[in-house]
Symmetry: C2
Subunit: 337 residues, 2 copies
């Protein structure tokens, strides 16, 4: 701070008024005559006055800032979510602070801590892969700060949730593969400790069952959620012996990793192997062949999550109630099947 901040007192001094009068005038308080209001306003303008939100927030014991914790901003899906969040937050005069967990529960906890210290109005979070206990999120709630999870939820925390129907989305994806004539359908699954990993795996099982196909556990490979995990998983499938006819991957990055690896092995999609992802990342439609996948509408998820959070901020009694909003998924048919 090079220049000393201009405060209500400076305006008051110049106008020979008391500073509380100025404060009221600036907030258009009915007490104050419009004549003085005008004087105050123009003086504020001249002096380049900017109200100090910090002081205001200290006084009112609350802020208009929401925190968003995502594994990584560099990710089509999350950046779209954040964009949606920022959009509705901006419209309601809220600020958005963004935190990256890098999939680390520890870093997530640190972020939560500083958010609490900053009297954050509410928090949106997608749980990190390594997050097993939700204790840091419970700390937020103990402070009366509402929490809404999106995408990957923390099951032991009673909070708002905005999710897609992972189970049904996965079922549709797998059923589509069956309808295309495949029965040896592999699944490149996500981490067992993420909700999306579990749910999509469940959908895979249900679909096979529904279609009367016996589950072959040799066709299921567990891995992470990123591109290199998909590549590694495909190599592992190859290693295990008989090639699958089709693969359902836990998400698009993983599908794309597999996709690249499949091509590297001189195989063609969908002739040798059909492939379905989950998420409809931007990339997927540009691949050759374009990837069949499950649309997730991340921007909408962000908007919905922010909406739910703001509702809870304004309605603090509900804060620790569970509440689920499910965003529709849709199978996007393209040429990888």
């Amino acid at each position: 701070m090079a220049t000393k901040q201009v405060t209500v007192k400076d305006i008051a001094k110049r106008l020979q008024l008391h500073y509380t009068t100025v404060s009221k005038a600036l907030r258009d308080h009915p007490d104050i005559s419009s004549a003085t209001k005008d004087r105050v306003l123009s003086a504020a303008q001249e002096l380049d006055y900017h109200p100090n939100s910090i002081a205001k927030n200290l006084k009112r014991q609350a802020t208009s800032t929401i925190g968003v914790i995502v594994p990584s901003i560099r990710n089509d899906f999350f950046s779209a979510v954040i964009s949606g969040v920022e959009e509705v937050a901006y419209g309601r005069e809220f600020n958005t602070v963004v935190c990256q967990s890098n999939e680390s529960a520890e870093r997530e906890a640190i972020h939560v801590d500083t958010l609490i210290s900053n009297q954050i109005a509410g928090v949106l979070a997608c749980a990190a892969q390594s997050t097993t206990s939700g204790s840091h999120f419970k700390a937020l709630q103990r402070q009366g700060i509402p929490v809404v999870f999106f995408d990957r939820i923390c099951e032991d925390v009673e909070a708002g949730r905005v999710v897609v129907d992972d189970d049904v989305g996965a079922q549709n994806a797998v059923k589509h593969l069956v309808q295309a004539g495949h029965s040896r359908i592999a699944h490149i699954a996500g981490p067992k400790n993420t909700s999306i990993g579990r749910e999509r795996y469940r959908g895979y099982l249900t679909a096979l069952e529904t279609c009367g196909i016996a589950v072959d556990h040799d066709l299921v490979v567990y891995g992470g959620l990123e591109e290199n995990d998909g590549a590694a998983a495909f190599r592992q499938l190859l290693h295990r012996g008989r090639m699958p006819e089709a693969i359902f991957a836990v998400n698009d990055p993983v599908a794309i990793g597999a996709y690249t690896e499949i091509k590297r092995h001189g195989l063609t999609i969908p002739d040798n192997i059909a492939l379905v992802g989950f998420g409809n990342n931007t990339l997927s439609s540009y691949l050759d062949p374009p990837l069949t996948t499950v649309r997730q509408s991340p921007y909408e998820i962000g908007r919905a999550a922010a909406g739910m959070l703001l509702r809870r901020i304004e309605n603090p009694t509900q804060n620790t109630k569970s509440e689920v909003q499910v965003i529709e998924t849709e199978l996007v048919l393209r040429q990888s099947v």
Copy 2:
């Protein structure tokens, strides 16, 4: 705030100490005996105490939060920049608030205003397309808040700048097209009022000149910076008559728009038309054929910009000096030429 916040006073009360003693103990002040420090620390733990940063910030008249203003978070390039920013900010115990301008100068100004009110420690910005005057950025500087521009700078503001050498990057791209045997090289240019639009256009001109090719202004189309702008621009080129042999687009999204449109017209890349972009967006390497483009290292740009900003925050005398850091570009050769 459902639960009343726990403050130093609560700890003091329980321990029969004065609250300032508690404050000092918590900050590990040498005044305090380690015995009392221990008592204070464990009491803090028990009571679930979280220091109030708002009060602290009010006291010290400064925050540890930096603001980032980008046109849109949903953009490969910007989300990578933000990720880099957040990364170094986190390492230096700074928070990051993210604002979207949606390319609107007005919205940018509003964001600046609330950032000032929140006593932001510094601001990183990529100027919106519609930003012609930098007066709102100057308002930041009047408050002693350092500003660093990245990617698109605001030329009338003396501030830090982290850019790539757009001119040279563009020259290399165009020279590559010449070396590939093309001479009718079109340019899909960006808006004239953005620095990247102007500089890359300049590089295009210089390259042609250097190679002894006369500039044909019919081969230059101006447009925006997004995918649909690229598609529209290509249609316009077709409309004007003789087809170019090659196109240099102001950035990857525009190149991709053109790419899609070229394919839609049944033309093949690079046989009918060669294509070069700028930015090396993730998408570009997955296209078929993959796009030749100029690598920009957005994550590095973000890291560098944040580094420069933090340096300026710690060194407030420099704040209104111009200082430029240029991030290397590199031509990434792929199959679109």
